[in-house]
Symmetry: C2
Subunit: 252 residues, 2 copies
């Protein structure tokens, strides 16, 4: 926890009183004392510091913080994700990892090779997945919560909903081990938003790839090595970020 | 399991008889039949196919393969890793994920912020960590096992052992959230080997950074977001790989 996150509604007259795992973290991990300053942010709001005005160092833990939140939230990350719903245990990790790396919107969609039982996971309830997003923000010292949208049907998403979103993006990338385009040929500028679609274990089926292509997606590959979805999502995000950092035009 | 891996010693007159989880995988996951071909490779050796000559589809599973192994192993990946020993549960995942991404040698070293108890983990026994490396190879359809070396003392490694290795590398990169150099400024060519050093949760201490710098390491950052070690290792590997794919020189 590199930043203590709170809801705006928890703050009363510039003070934040903590009694849960956040108080425990300040006492037991940070080992802070009265008068110390800790990093604090409001979810989807300002960041800054809290000065400890009072605390109870034994169970039940209590910490009162006086807030000075003068920093704006981080910029909206330029990457949105479309992810074929993974196994719940893998989804948990992906949600916190991509939130730490920075992502705007996460669309969880159905695909032919998504196991039906995954759609019954409790993790798809907002209160459940939100805790994994918060872990990512706490890690990365960010306050901007990704927007998670759940689409249990593939065709209505790609044919009816996505066309209204497509104009937001300069780059529409579909990860496909059999794809012919290298990312470095596909991402050739450092402005404009990117949407990245990553398939299920076993990959997209041909019909799905065709639907994405009809929407203007370009099939990109990470190379010959086949990766698990959790590894692939991070690797793709990181590669795109590296390419965006470059000064353009490249001498190709 | 995208490739069935075997030891050379298991092959007798071009035949491989399987009775363990590999046989179970062929029966239950691949659902192969007699006469089908499956992807096979020898650990640290050739890759190719095995044709199923006979099988028992009920427990105890048995599959006999007739091998044709005509493809060389993949090339030696250009990246070696120096990793401050992480928590065992995280190390398991990192070992299989970096093996899937491709890594030559993995040096596990001590650092000030490595918890002492991590050195007692059973996972540091070769038979234990090897299974996680194999999972990564099975995922990535590779046969070249990374070389894992364990260095329980920091100073003897960096002062005595590393100088003999330094000449192998064109790029010596130290990941440090406070580093000033961007990876894209540090990796400016697509030839020569790279060694990447990643610290423990909480980071390297100043004295450790100094020792790496004395050996010629350059302090690189992934940006302002602080990442967990498992996310950071994959993200760094992927960013370096993206930069290596580019045509140089860049128009900077």
């Amino acid at each position: 926890m590199n930043i203590i996150l709170a809801e705006a509604a928890e703050v009363v007259a510039g003070r934040l009183a903590l009694t849960d795992r956040r108080a425990e973290h300040i006492v037991k991990v940070l080992r802070s004392e009265t008068g110390d300053r800790v990093r604090v942010g409001l979810i989807n709001g300002q960041r800054g510091f809290g000065t400890i005005g009072g605390m109870q160092r034994k169970y039940p833990f209590m910490v009162e913080l006086h807030l000075e939140l003068n920093e704006p939230p981080g910029e909206l990350p330029p990457i949105d994700l479309i992810l074929a719903l993974p196994r719940p245990i893998m989804l948990k990790r992906i949600l916190s990892q991509v939130t730490a790396l920075g992502v705007g919107t996460i669309h969880l969609i159905n695909a032919n090779r998504v196991e039906k039982s995954f759609w019954e996971a409790g993790l798809l309830q907002p209160d459940e997945y939100r805790s994994h997003l918060l872990q990512g923000l706490e890690q990365a010292v960010d306050t901007r919560l990704p927007d998670v949208r759940i689409h249990p049907k593939f065709k209505p998403f790609i044919e009816d909903e996505f066309p209204a979103l497509a104009g937001n993006y300069r780059y529409l990338l579909l990860a496909d081990p059999a794809g012919r385009q290298r990312l470095s040929d596909a991402v050739t500028g450092n402005t404009g938003r990117i949407v990245l679609a990553v398939g299920p274990e076993g990959g997209w089926v041909a019909d799905e790839i065709e639907k994405f292509q009809e929407q203007g997606f370009c099939c990109c590959t990470l190379g010959e090595r086949i990766l698990k979805v959790d590894t692939a999502v991070i690797a793709l995000h990181a590669r795109i970020t590296a390419l965006r950092e470059l000064e353009y035009p490249l001498a190709l």
